[in-house]
């Protein structure tokens, strides 16, 4: 079968090339169907309980997607006539943002006050001409003492303010809607800065975050993918010194990526932050196949074979190993299907498809191209073979030292795994190159954090929120929240009612308290609602029959587990103080806080499945269950060490990293497969002793292993440059795991094998049996 394959390819190379290109072309045309989904909700599956809770809350109250203009006057004081005029005009402009339903700023804040028996409701800043210093002082005092505004819309020192635009995206075509809002908002920002050069504006909010997902990935696409191509060309060009080989490899890579992404389009995938890293990963993984084929081919040609025979021999030798490594890599990536987060399932599936396609192209169009194109072979010094021999000698001589030392190092590194803390802070999904991150960091330092939790307190009775008991509960809860150090802001209807009660009693401060009867509250709210303008109503705080109200709490930046603690405390508060009300807590912050945990659990199951499956595959491939079991160690140790080092260095594990074990498993297995199969081949077929077998394995695959590892590490290091931190961390940790895997295979595995064989020999000598099936040669690449 192996001979037949190249027999056909070698006879009809042009046909093979044409058919492959035609296939790739048809498949790739699906890529135009691929669109990027700008929505943080894509990270959550439909059955995610936090998402479900949040969506049902959004249906009861109004939606809360938003854009924040963070306005920073350079003179550090918002309360001047010019700055207030500018804010007023920005507020008006903000109504032009597509899908806007509400605009909140200090200028349009509905200020209520009493004048004898009159109740006056008006914009806090009505006219900006002829404002005296005492007017400005009064406005400032009102603003920074208003619980609805301070630390949310205005900083407590009055140096920064926010114009917050609530948008209600129809959700019919998020691919168009989000950029539409972003474009409009940026135009408004630009116009504002042109007109007010003494002011700085930052853009934050959910819509800007959603936009950043797309934009960060796009800019990655335009920088990382070319960089990756450069790495591939340089690596193959320098290490293998072949122009034809480089060209053919690049073609295989392009076809693998284009076909995969095209199929993704046809199959109805959409792109997201994580899945947009699929091309970089496929490229990295596809290179390995080509390197193995090229290495063997050149080896044959240097030893006098003509090109066609060399290619045929290379395909024959490599077909099974690269098929096996492709399958194990695909299985590793497919384990991502266990992830709770759909973009990672997509990423896993796309890369798995890509890896298998790369295999197909590597054994069809790649040899066909090599057949057709001219190839020169220069006699090359086998320098690296010498160095491999040196390395083998070193490992064999120092085995008694290496085994304990590496074991201790591995255990020491793994001991730091508990240093890792689960954390999904969506702001930190972007690095400081992304404007959204800069804006949000600025907001955190100067105004309020981005952690928001919405709390719906439900009575189940129409008009139930007007009950004084209910209002007291909500007010007490809000006070309790405000007393917590992590709280920046609490938006609650009870503040409005207290203010109205004061207004209705001639602005007497002693009446700043909740009304004491249901009727009083109901009638105040009726009065207030009738006096509010379009877009500033209470429908975002009260449900339609006034049976429940929504409190919105904003917290300082904190880790997922801290936020989950706050959530637990809030639930406990209600259980203890007001068990009669049912309470829903929901928000994107909570969704992200829980996703890491959910994902880790599901990924552990997935990884276990992949591990079992890969071990079975290895057992078959090595024709030995014992070596299949031994291989578990070098397969798992790299991830353990990498996570240990990560625990020392960074310590924050989120959604992106929870998939790394499954992902790297399939890749690091390749090294083990190659090394063990050569080792066993030597022992079984050449009757070599353990030392000779180790020498043989180093000599045969040592070079190929470090070349492929170099490419893989380089590839994932390129991914680590992504401004989308989720991808960057994933790339970095993967690169580290793969590098450690090579070190483990070179320094830890051989001493381990020798130690095991030694104890086995002792046993078999005493029992006089052999546990080995000597007849195996399935994976037998590299016989010379």
């Amino acid at each position: 079968m192996r001979d037949k394959l190249y027999g056909f390819v070698g006879k009809h190379p042009i046909w093979v090339i044409l058919v492959c290109i035609a296939f790739a072309f048809v498949a790739a045309s699906g890529a135009q169907k691929l669109v990027f989904k700008n929505d943080y909700r894509v990270f959550f599956s439909e059955e995610n309980p936090q998402l479900t809770a949040f969506e049902s809350m959004q249906k009861v109250y109004n939606k809360s997607d938003n854009v924040s203009f963070v306005v920073v006057p350079k003179d550090g004081n918002v309360f001047t006539a010019e700055h207030l005029a500018a804010l007023k005009s920005l507020t008006k402009q903000s109504w032009q943002v597509p899908y806007s339903t509400r605009v909140d700023s200090i200028t349009n804040f509905q200020y209520t006050y009493a004048e004898e028996d009159d109740m006056i409701v008006e914009d806090l800043v009505m006219k900006t001409k002829n404002l005296t210093q005492s007017d400005l002082d009064k406005i400032k005092q009102i603003a920074i003492n208003e619980p609805l505004l301070v630390n949310k819309i205005i900083s407590n020192s009055g140096h920064v303010s926010v114009v917050n635009v609530t948008v209600q995206l129809p959700g019919i075509d998020p691919i168009v809607e989000v950029p539409e809002v972003a474009t409009s908002v940026r135009a408004i920002k630009q116009k504002f800065i042109d007109e007010n050069p003494d002011t700085e504006i930052y853009l934050s909010g959910m819509v800007m975050m959603n936009t950043s997902f797309g934009e960060a990935s796009m800019s990655d696409g335009s920088t990382l993918i070319p960089l990756m191509f450069l790495v591939v060309i340089v690596t193959i060009g320098l290490l293998l010194r072949t122009i034809t080989g480089t060209v053919a490899t690049v073609l295989v890579i392009i076809m693998s990526i284009a076909t995969t992404m095209g199929l993704a389009g046809w199959l109805g995938f959409f792109l997201t932050g994580p899945s947009s890293s699929a091309p970089t990963m496929i490229m990295t993984l596809a290179v390995a196949d080509c390197i193995h084929i090229l290495t063997s081919m050149f080896y044959e040609m240097r030893h006098g074979a003509d090109k066609k025979t060399a290619i045929a021999k290379s395909i024959k030798l490599n077909l099974q190993p690269i098929f096996l490594t492709s399958i194990t890599t695909a299985v590793g990536f497919l384990s991502m299907n266990f992830s709770d987060s759909p973009p990672f399932r997509d990423l896993g599936n796309l890369v798995a498809i890509g890896v298998m396609l790369a295999f197909v192209f590597a054994v069809t169009i790649f040899p066909a191209l090599l057949t057709v194109l001219p190839i020169k072979v220069r006699v090359q010094k086998e320098g690296s073979k010498d160095s491999m021999t040196k390395l083998a000698n070193f490992v064999i001589n120092k085995r008694k030292l290496l085994l304990p030392v590496t074991s201790i190092l591995i255990i020491a590194a793994a001991a730091f795994i508990p240093n890792n803390e689960l954390n999904d802070d969506f702001v930190k999904y972007f690095d400081e190159r992304v404007p959204y991150r800069v804006a949000t960091d600025f907001m955190q330092d100067n105004l309020s954090g981005m952690m928001v939790v919405e709390i719906s307190v439900k009575t189940g009775i129409p008009s139930g929120i007007n009950n004084p008991k209910y209002l007291n509960t909500v007010s007490d809860f809000s006070d309790w929240l405000r007393s917590r150090p992590e709280t920046d802001h609490v938006n609650t209807i009870t503040d409005t009612l207290k203010r109205l009660n004061k207004n209705m009693h001639g602005d007497d401060p002693s009446w700043y308290k909740l009304p004491d009867s249901q009727e009083m509250s109901a009638q105040y709210l009726l009065l207030y609602e009738m006096s509010l303008p379009y877009g500033l109503d209470l429908n975002n705080q009260l449900d339609v029959d006034k049976s429940s109200s929504r409190i919105v709490a904003t917290f300082k930046n904190m880790t997922s587990s801290q936020l989950i603690d706050v959530e637990t405390d809030m639930n406990a508060w209600f259980k203890q103080n007001a068990p009669q009300y049912s309470v829903d807590l929901a928000s994107p912050s909570l969704m992200f806080a829980h996703i890491g945990q959910r994902n880790i659990v599901s990924m552990l199951i997935g990884t276990t499945f992949a591990l079992i499956l890969i071990s079975i595959l290895l057992g078959f491939a090595l024709k030995s269950w014992r070596y299949g079991a031994i291989s578990l160690l070098p397969n798992l140790v790299p991830a353990a060490v990498a996570f240990g080092v990560w625990g020392l260095y960074e310590g924050q594990v989120g959604l992106g990293l929870s998939v790394v074990i499954g992902m790297t498993l399939g890749i690091v297995v390749d090294d083990t497969v190659h090394f063990l199969s050569k080792y066993l081949h030597a022992k079984r077929e050449n009757n070599a002793d353990t030392k000779q077998a180790v020498h043989y394995a180093f000599g045969n695959v040592g070079r190929a292993l470090w070349v492929t590892t170099f490419v893989l590490v380089a590839g994932f290091t390129v991914l680590a440059q992504s401004s989308f931190k989720m991808n960057a961390d994933m790339g970095f940790l993967t690169a580290m795991t793969i590098f450690i895997a090579l070190v483990v295979d070179f320094l830890f595995l051989p001493p381990l094998l020798m130690a095991i064989d030694k104890s086995l020999t002792k046993k078999s000598k005493s029992k006089n049996t052999t546990g080995e099936d000597d007849n195996a040669n399935m994976v037998s690449a590299g016989q010379n």
Binding site: S56, K59, V60, N62, K63, W95, Q96, V97, P98, Y99, S100, T101, Q110, E115, D117, D118, M119, I120, V121, E122, Q168, P170, P462, S463, N466, M504, P515, S517, Q518, E519, M520, S521, A522, Q523, Y524, L526, L527, E529, M530, S531, L532, P533, Y534, G535, L536, D537, L538, N539, L542, D543, V544, D545, K546
Partner: protein, 265 residues
């Protein structure tokens, strides 16, 4: 007096019908104004009215809520009407009464009687664009139609609710209005509003109001038994059901002042 009014309206209807056949004579702006004037003209002379209104609020989640209101109105020549709104349901606002002297352009005069406080409060606010009792109707959607509130543009003819209708764009004069424009369909036979589309500040379609089941009172005045408002942006809707319409009930100006507020029920 009444006959004279009818004669004028008939004549002007004939004139308008003639004019719409020679539309080259009028700009669309003038045509829009003429149609609106005619509609207003046909509804003059009802003197006073009372009616019960039932509001049915629905949100996206399917939750429903009911409000019950009684409305008394007094027709005022050359100014907005005076109206008295008495709240019945929800129970906790029962007896609350709202008095409004609407003005076409200036801010309305408004007073509210709160039974829980036993006080009448004058409300000074230019805002008429917020949701009325949490519904999808703004107060400005419920107040009387006055020619001076809008400028106009006739857009053409269209069939709505199976009736040949004029399609007229209206631009609010009041800068505090929540709308940039309304598109109103009036049927050609009776000049009754059949449908209104409301466009928000960024000129995006916000709401659609449809009038259902018109009934004629005193052989002249048409009132819809039911009005449906659908908010396209948030998916919420509100239905108004009108009952017990009565006209010329003998209400006086004295029934519409701040002292009368406490007495109403």
């Amino acid at each position: 007096m009444l006959k004279k009014k009818m004669l004028i309206s008939t004549l002007s209807a004939v004139a308008l019908a003639l004019m719409s056949n020679m539309s080259f004579a009028l700009t669309p702006e003038q045509q829009g104004l003429e149609i609106s004037k005619e509609a207003k003209q046909r509804d003059l002379g009802w003197v006073d009215s009372t009616a019960d209104m039932l509001m049915l609020l629905r949100n996206k989640q399917g939750q429903e809520s009911i409000r019950e209101i009684k409305i008394k109105s007094l027709e005022i020549d050359d100014d907005g009407d005076k109206s008295l709104t008495i709240f019945n349901k929800p129970k906790d606002v029962k007896g609350t009464a709202f008095l409004s002297f609407s003005h076409p352009v200036d801010a309305d005069d408004q007073w509210l009687y709160l039974p829980a406080l036993k006080r009448v409060k004058r409300i000074s606010s230019r805002n008429k664009s917020g949701p009325f009792m949490g519904s999808e109707f703004a107060f400005e959607d419920l107040s009387s139609f006055e020619i001076k509130k809008y400028s106009y543009k006739y857009l053409g003819d269209e069939k709505v609710n199976n009736l040949e209708s004029f399609k007229v764009e209206q631009y609010p004069v009041d800068e505090n209005s929540g709308y940039t424009k309304r598109i109103v369909w009036l049927d050609k036979n009776e000049y009754r509003v059949q449908k209104i589309e409301f466009y928000d500040r960024k000129s995006a379609l916000l709401k659609t109001l449809t009038y259902v089941d018109y009934k004629q009172y005193l052989g002249k005045y048409w009132r819809a038994n039911s009005q449906n408002m659908l908010n396209h942006q948030n998916g919420k809707s509100t239905e108004l059901k009108w009952n017990n319409y009565a006209f010329k009930t003998g209400l006086k100006a004295g029934d519409f002042n701040r002292n009368s507020l406490k007495r109403v029920r």
